[in-house]
């Protein structure tokens, strides 16, 4: 009887209850979004780094991969040295540079990645063919570059390297055939990128890029040895920075501290709002029902029943608001994610808001507990009010 009675009591003032419910739903949505935000981007970034199975990144000393335009020299020798470690299975050098691309009268600046076709971890093939070892005339385009150049698989595009400051002319120019269309994993949204064989990219980047790379992606035998292998390689090659995925995620976490602080503050505000909404509604309800509650006490209804009835009302409101808030929160998370991932410089493939069962369950439990606790003062007041005076002063 307690549940149906509590529900009917809420429905006694449908507009007021609906407004409170909406308020709880908005607070629940905010809480959910903040919970998803607080750990979501970090988890998403970790998943992205692991997506191609390379657990280590070697980059110029003092930098993180593609954090600067710095490159490492002697990449062939360095790669060979890294491969000599028993735990290292594969080394994939990548040179990032900026080139000019032209096709059909359209010219634009492109981000170019020079890769070893046999081992690369920065793109996945969407259609057409991948580059093959020994290929010196092929190029792969990302969707934004494809659209802006108006090129397609089989077309030839012209790439020009850096301007020679002495001659005021491009140091080199090469015509390459589009072999396939790829999705670059770490690109920002709408970033026009291409992938060429490493040697081609090095040549186009100029003499100073000979045998250089921006980053080496290293695949080790298994995830469990990742940290130990990174430490070993770091000790063996102090001239470069060696980071495991865990190290990179930790660095990323440090940079995103403000996101977690923001989500903690906003999540706490959401809980406070829930307490205020549920608490206020129940306080009003208990005030209005003081005569009714006194009647119940008079006819022999136990204090515990009165307390549970008030608490159940708060719980019903929180459960209904929370359920609505879940839908609202997931909707707003998608919308906010689309805005945040369009920020320049951020990989479009990462998500700021990641829906994971455990954090969502924790948030839901916290919300329910909050809704329950919000009703305690009103419930206690209802149960301990003097019966005789309440009966005299009020009528249902």
């Amino acid at each position: 009887m307690t549940w149906s009675w509590a529900l009917r009591d809420l429905l006694r003032h449908p507009v007021r209850s609906a407004l409170s419910l909406l308020g709880v739903a908005v607070a629940a949505a905010l809480l959910l979004d903040m919970v998803m935000l607080s750990g979501g981007i970090e988890r998403s970034f970790g998943q992205l780094l692991r997506s191609r199975g390379y657990q280590l990144r070697v980059s110029p000393l003092g930098t993180l991969p593609f954090d600067t335009e710095a490159t490492m020299g002697g990449v062939t020798a360095l790669s060979a040295a890294l491969r000599r470690d028993a735990a290292v299975m594969e080394v994939a050098p990548i040179l990032g540079t900026t080139l000019q691309g032209e096709h059909g009268g359209v010219a634009l600046a492109l981000v170019a990645y020079g890769v070893e076709p046999a081992a690369q971890g920065i793109y996945t093939l969407e259609r057409g063919n991948d580059l093959t070892p020994g290929d010196r005339t092929g190029v792969l385009l990302g969707e934004p570059a494809l659209l802006r150049l108006g090129a397609d698989v089989g077309d030839t595009i012209v790439l020009r390297g850096r301007l020679d400051p002495q001659l005021a002319d491009a140091s080199s120019e090469v015509a390459l055939v589009v072999r396939g269309i790829v999705r670059f994993l770490y690109d920002a949204r709408d970033q026009p990128s291409i992938a060429t064989p490493l040697a081609v990219a090095q040549r186009l980047a100029g003499a100073e890029a000979t045998d250089r790379a921006s980053v080496l992606m290293v695949r080790v035998t298994d995830d469990a040895t990742m940290g130990a292998t990174a430490a070993r390689l770091r000790a063996a090659h102090p001239e470069v920075a060696v980071n495991s995925i865990d190290d990179l995620v930790a660095q990323f976490r440090l940079r995103l501290t403000y996101f977690r602080q923001l989500s903690l503050i906003l999540g706490s505000i959401a809980l406070v709002v829930t307490v205020l909404l549920v608490g206020t509604l129940l306080a009003i309800t208990v005030n209005e029902r003081s005569g009714e509650i006194a009647t119940l006490r008079a006819i022999g209804v136990a204090r515990e029943r009165i307390v549970s009835q008030v608490l159940v009302q708060g719980l019903l409101l929180t459960v209904a608001g929370g359920a609505l808030g879940l839908l609202l929160g997931l909707g707003t998370a998608r919308w906010l994610d689309a805005i945040l991932t369009s920020f320049p410089g951020l990989p479009a493939a990462i998500s700021f808001f990641v829906a994971e069962p455990k954090p969502i369950a924790t948030a839901a439990a916290t919300l329910l507990l909050t809704g329950l606790l919000a009703g305690v003062p009103s419930a206690w007041r209802a149960a301990s009010a003097p019966i005789a005076s309440a009966l005299r002063s009020d009528a249902p």
């Binding site: 005569g291 009647t295 019966i387």
Partner: protein, 223 residues
């Protein structure tokens, strides 16, 4: 005959504007099983205060109340609540039915609290509504009932757990003359069926029907 209610030297003082006001001054009374007692007196004479003390809704400043030999003073709240549930039925001037429950559910309420199984309490509620002449209104909510009907539902609710004592505070106070007559007829019938009644009232017709009349004045029994 069994003593249902015994009150000794009841006093009740309230603080008011920094001083103490005596609502009851040494009231004693005994009610035997099957009696129909009317407590009358002018406003402020202490009759309603007396009723709240007799029913364990408030505690006296001094004196004692016993219901079927159980002293109310010193009883923990849980035991006092249980005693009200099992032994006492209350009828109030303003009915105090729960608006979100139907007539039947209002009558079922004390039985639900007693732990009576749903089917049994439903049958008993319908039987009681039949007794007060409202069987056909069992599914109606209080807002759909007239004042007299609400009071009859309140009486059915008061009888739900077969109380040893029925306490009524101005049961006809909010009703018109014709409806009051119906309620008084119901009380007459309850009395005839053996229910012990203590009714606080201004209504002279109640005093005419009661087996004993207690008159109060200035917080004391006047005669």
């Amino acid at each position: 005959m069994t003593t249902v209610l015994e009150a000794r030297d009841l006093e009740r003082r309230h603080p008011l504007d920094g001083r103490e006001v005596s609502a009851l001054r040494g009231v004693s009374l005994t009610v035997k099983a099957g009696e129909y007692v009317a407590i009358v007196g002018p406003s402020g004479s202490g009759k309603s205060t007396l009723l709240t003390l007799l029913g364990g809704l408030d505690l006296p400043t001094a004196g004692s109340v016993q219901i079927l030999g159980t002293a109310l003073e010193g009883l923990p709240d849980r035991a006092l609540t249980r005693l009200r549930l099992e032994r006492i039925g209350f009828v109030f001037q303003r009915f105090h039915l729960l608006p979100v429950l139907t007539a039947r559910e209002n009558v079922e309420l004390p039985m639900a609290e007693m732990g009576v199984p749903p089917a049994a309490r439903r049958a008993r509620a319908l039987e009681l509504l039949e007794y007060v002449g409202l069987a056909e209104r069992a599914g109606h909510r209080p807002t759909q009932l007239s004042g007299g009907e609400m009071q009859r539902v309140a009486i059915a609710r008061a009888l739900a757990n077969r109380p040893a004592l029925l306490l009524a505070d101005e049961p006809t106070g909010e009703l018109d003359v014709a409806t009051s007559r119906e309620i008084l007829a119901l009380f007459r019938r309850l009395h005839a069926d053996g229910t012990t009644l203590v009714v606080v009232t201004h209504d002279e017709r109640v005093t005419a029907e009661a087996s004993r009349v207690i008159r109060m004045l200035d917080g004391r029994i006047a005669d």
